[in-house]
Symmetry: C2
Amino acid sequence: MKNSGILIVVSGFSGAGKGTLMKRLLEKYDTYSLSISMTTREPRLGETDGKEYFFVTKEQFEQKITENGLVEHAVYCDNYYGTPRNYVEEQLIKGKDVILEIEIQGALKVKEMFPDALLLFVMPPSIEELRRRLNGRGTETEEVIEKRLQRATEEAEDIEAYEYIVINDDLEVCVDEMHQMILASHNVPARNMKFIENMRNDLKDLSKGE
Amino acid sequence: MKNSGILIVVSGFSGAGKGTLMKRLLEKYDTYSLSISMTTREPRLGETDGKEYFFVTKEQFEQKITENGLVEHAVYCDNYYGTPRNYVEEQLIKGKDVILEIEIQGALKVKEMFPDALLLFVMPPSIEELRRRLNGRGTETEEVIEKRLQRATEEAEDIEAYEYIVINDDLEVCVDEMHQMILASHNVPARNMKFIENMRNDLKDLSKGE
């Protein structure tokens, strides 16, 4: 059944635990590849090209945009960030499910370019819990927390665009549930049209007595 | 997350192994209830009312139709067969996922009445395998087998109306996959609108500083 991989886009509220969840998913199952972003920002100490990011110049990045070499891109703090299409497509062909963490606007763009992409939305079990986690980080000012909650309010409007919601209550349970959803999503008819069409043709040939 | 159950409609080609699959699913997991059909045909030796079927008279059945007490019904060999709505709704409220085996026309009717219903389509791994299984039963004439293949050709046209396809190759693997799909389907946004709306409202209240 499973031939080529699926592109998995993970979005969700800041503080919902996306990062931890994806890290654990990649540790636990070997069928996933994490998409590596391309950026024009300077590498920090200890960061390696091709590991944390593909580090490129502004000119190289804009060249990539021109040649349609990015699945999506955005500007953040005067730097470009984007998803190279090559790497994603290579991994999909290898049969890997490629995971991409981006916010909702990017997710919708990816879905346009890859209609078979699976969109997952990570949510906390409750808003009280989300606030608790944002406070608990201890690194954010009240103003930043308010901004994130404001952003969550906007993002919550588009949850129906996602195929599944992932409720991050207990990490281990959640990772397994997420893996299950991904496995199940491989069996949606739209992702198996070649198999279905082959079967239809075989049935028609049989009816004709061939 | 999981509050009330989901109505699961299982269809698929004759010979794809639906019956065996569902029997094993019910044995292996205790979260499922099998819907019991109502019929006007005579009970056979050893059949008990309320176990294999609910046995009723033609008048009782037609009364059920009139009062909209059936999820779907059909006539087969001069007898009525149908799915009582009461039993289905009771089990769903109890949190059970209720399984219903019906053909495609019935499945689409159920989906109209229960928009949250999950439609699964069971397929053999190949048409050669389907033919082998139909021949292997040894109880069917070539004419009956041809009729079934003809019917499969028609049913194959509507596979896209189903949420997942279930490829029945190895029984045990397939039962677990089917269980996974059902679990995953509980996390589709459309089946969690109450939870999502509550979260949206909580976020709005927070933004207002309440």
